[in-house]
Amino acid sequence: MEKKNIDRRKFLGAGVLAGATVIGAGALLASCGKEATNASLGLPPILKGAPKGRKLKAGLVGAGNRGTGAAINFISAGPDLEIIAVCDVFQDKIDAIRERFKSFKLEIPEKNCFTGFDGYKKMMAIEELDVVLLATPPRFRPEHFLEAIQNKKHVFMEKPVAVDPVGIRSLIATAKKAEALGLCVVTGTQRRHQEDYIETYKRVKGGAIGRLTSAKAFWNQDHVWFRTREADWDDMTYMVRNWNNFCWLCGDHILDTHIHNIDVINWFMGKTPISAIGNGGRHRRVTGDQYDFFNIDFDYGNGVSSHSYCREIDSCANRTGELVMGTEGYTNCVNTIWDLNGNVKWQFEYPKDENGNAMSQLKIPAYVQEHMHLVHAIRKGEYVNQAEQTALSTLTAIMGRTAAYTGQLVTWEEIMKSDMQLGPKEIKFGPVDMKFEVPIPGTPPNI
């Protein structure tokens, strides 16, 4: 009897508390006024730093340039964040990142370092790991992501997230598995974490340029890099060291870099395109099987399309960015909105430097903001999972690439169901029996 009374009192207490919470939440909502919040629009919070909380230990998969960068970005995001494990297919990459961390007076214990193609499995089996950072060439992302979720880790992963539709479907399914387990996933589509992009997006979403009618997206830059084959490298070693030049590892530069712009257009349009048609070619590359340039028309339906183009050739006019046209104006998506006569309607206010002059960029780089977001989500319990959204943008790029390589019109339905899977059947060091012909669209003329 007494026990029951206590239970009843507890119950009442809980009830009052629940009531108070509802009222409190209501008041909070009311105080925000009519303006949509970041959360209500599915946007990440803009943070000055990750919140305090339980120590989070992370492991890095892929200790190349971006992987090492991501690891440093992670520990810079806030307090009590550590990199305690690393894996890479090559020992020299592991040595290099350990040296780098030593220079910050941080130690990555040798027992937590793994090499080889299955090193990631050993690393992810480490129980004290809370978070894994996935930064290998994208061909391996789907299997790494699945292993991470099976080992109950939160995930940060770089874009693109796969190179073919088989990988994309695997990744989306794993994203849903992560969601079911409450494991957070943040992706390296940094524009979605930039305050200037976010503020512009909110205004466009609020109708600042009316109904969207067309878009363009572009990423034109010098050629990136290539490795010359060394005498003692077998086929696989050479390709992985020179991964940025092989389609099965990289997905071509329409995935590697242009995906940022493609993702912004999908974001602003609020959907993925229904088909793609386009062209591309190769003039200047010296290794691998990829194109130098792509020109794709992505059809978003109802006459709305996005002209998407990218190039990696030295000594050409370079330009990166986006533009979205609406019935009442247009925007560069990053910081400015114009009316149809070209008058600036709104501009993002960048922070001021020590001398009081407006800076041209944000104080906190988006690369770090991404990790703040992840840590915030884990520590505050505000769930985030960007994997599917980034997978859909990656698939958009794959659809564009396929349209250029084949010369055909490629529909979303086709590419979503395609069994295209790139690369050798078995991933191991040694000789690789594959032909690397540069794709040629269509058929030659009859002579």
Partner: protein, 504 residues
């Protein structure tokens, strides 16, 4: 004011209220008790006497699993509370009581009740979802993931039912293989004479075709040249508008398979041409030398009903056409699927009535309340057609029915048959001229004509003029592969084909 007088004295009022509460509690309590009691497995099987099904349930994943959790009868066979639990309970209860009083459960056709179409009436989607909330458990396989991704991305009104794929999770069925059937057809060896030469056809008369390098032989029937009226007149009972207007058609003579292509016949083709992986499945051109045939099927294409002389089923229209190419190459003759006109001409055998035997659709059909209760007089139709009322929901061997005027068996019923024509509901309207000569249907289209109805059809749909068509998307709904098979339908088990051979 007057009512309050009744309660004057105060105490009586309290007593009455107390009594009311007490009675309410008793009634509510007993309703709850009754509801719980009548939802126990024990209570269920007191009316539902089906020892085989009880046993299958114990062998299924829903009983025999690692966690030791048992899913009880009503957890699948009634919707969850809040989703029409009580109305469904009442509906099933009345039916069950009626069945218990007036029927003998041993007479029930349990095989038929196991089929997907019937199972959907007794298994509630909401009940599946109530327990299986997470469609993406971490252990889900690649094929499972693909299938569930497709499920979540399908609009609500087109979503398949859970049991479209998971039919046997509640009652174990050992014949239901849930994997690529790589041994399919391989183990069937026939210790018979192997033919070296195809049959030579010099005269226009029935012949037995012999396929070289196999033990395969089958009967072909000579169908003479003639003119007939294709389609059904507007006064025909239970017809559909796509069967008209009636038109006059002239057909040259041809040979037609006496029966639908059997498993025995189809498996010879499968063994000779089956491709190992999915990549080999390239589009066939009649001119190519080597014919690439079907990939290994998923599960059991014969549905566990047996092969032999039962008609081959679940192969796609493309597979059936490729079979004809293979047969032509083997025999040096020209085999192909019949045109829709050839099919109807051969089926009618000179008759103009709804069936090639006496009787009317209205007297045979089992639709309508009266027929449902008292049954239809089906003596005549039973001897010619394997259809819904006599098939036990399976294909049958052709020996079980009588032939039509031309000597063809199972033109109506058993399995519906592919024709070479594209389907258009208005196909007969667009034709012009007095007498059409060997019409071959519309020039283009999406789906192909199927004719004759099947073992699942009501009598009204096995009329000589009744038309139907392939439904590619629906028939591949639960195929988990990406892209889906071009050789096998995952969700059609009552369509087959028969061949025609052109007179040369």
């Amino acid at each position: 004011m007057r009512f309050s007088n009744i309660f004057k004295g105060g105490k009586t009022k309290y007593w009455l209220v107390a009594l009311g509460i007490f009675l309410c509690a008793i009634i509510l309590g007993s309703v709850n008790q009754i509801s719980n009691y009548t939802s126990s497995d024990k209570y269920c099987v007191s009316c539902h006497i089906h020892p085989v099904q009880d046993q299958n349930w114990r062998l299924s994943e829903h009983y025999n699993n690692k966690s030791g959790f048992v899913t009880h009868c009503v957890e699948c066979h009634l919707p969850p509370k809040g989703h029409g639990y009580l109305p469904a309970k009442l509906k099933h209860g009345i039916k069950d009581v009626y069945g218990k009083l007036f029927k003998d459960s041993a007479d029930f056709d349990w095989e038929a009740k196991k089929t997907l179409e019937n199972a959907k009436k007794y298994v509630y989607e909401q009940s599946c979802i109530r327990c299986h909330e997470n469609l993406f458990p971490v252990t889900l396989s690649v094929n499972g993931s693909n299938a569930h991704l497709q499920y979540v991305n399908t609009p609500q009104d087109q979503k398949p039912n859970c049991i479209n794929c998971h039919l046997n999770v509640g009652h174990y069925d050992k014949s239901n293989l849930h994997a690529h059937n790589t041994n399919f057809g391989v183990t069937e060896t026939l210790a018979k004479e192997v033919f070296t030469e195809p049959t030579k056809v010099e005269k226009f008369e029935n012949f037995v075709e012999k396929v070289p390098e196999t033990s395969l032989s089958f009967e072909m029937v000579a169908i003479p040249e003639g003119i007939f009226e294709m389609g059904s007149p507007e006064k025909e009972e239970l017809r559909k508008p796509d069967e008209g207007p009636v038109r006059k058609v002239h057909l040259s003579k041809f040979f037609m398979g006496k029966a639908e292509v059997s498993w025995e016949e189809y498996l010879e083709f499968f063994k000779a041409t089956a491709s190992q992986g999915r990549k080999e499945a390239i589009i066939n051109q009649p001119v190519t030398d080597a014919i690439t045939g079907p990939t290994p099927p998923w599960g059991a294409p014969d549905q566990g009903w047996g092969k032999g002389t039962r008609p081959a089923i679940t192969m796609s229209w493309k597979s059936a056409s490729t079979y004809c190419l293979w047969l032509s190459k083997k025999t040096g003759k020209k085999y192909r699927l019949p045109t829709e006109a050839e099919w109807e001409y051969a089926c009618r055998g000179g008759t103009k009535d709804p069936y090639f035997f006496p009787g009317s659709p209205k007297s045979f059909t089992s639709t309508g309340l009266f027929k449902k209760i008292f049954g239809a007089d089906t003596t005549v139709i039973n001897s010619f057609v394997a259809y819904k009322e006599n098939s036990q929901s399976k294909t049958r061997e052709p020996g079980s029915v009588k032939a039509n005027q031309f000597g063809l068996k199972n033109m109506l019923g058993n399995v519906a048959e592919f024709c070479s024509d594209y389907y258009a509901p208005t196909a007969y309207k667009t034709a012009s001229g007095d007498v059409l000569n060997n019409p071959a249907g519309p020039d283009s289209g999406q789906e192909h004509v199927i004719r004759g109805g099947s073992f699942k059809s009501d009598a009204k749909d096995v009329r000589s003029a009744a038309r139907d068509f392939t439904k590619t998307k629906a028939w591949l709904m639960t195929d988990p592969q990406m892209p889906k098979s071009v050789w096998w339908y995952s969700d059609s088990n009552d369509v087959g084909f028969r061949v025609v051979c052109e007179m040369q």
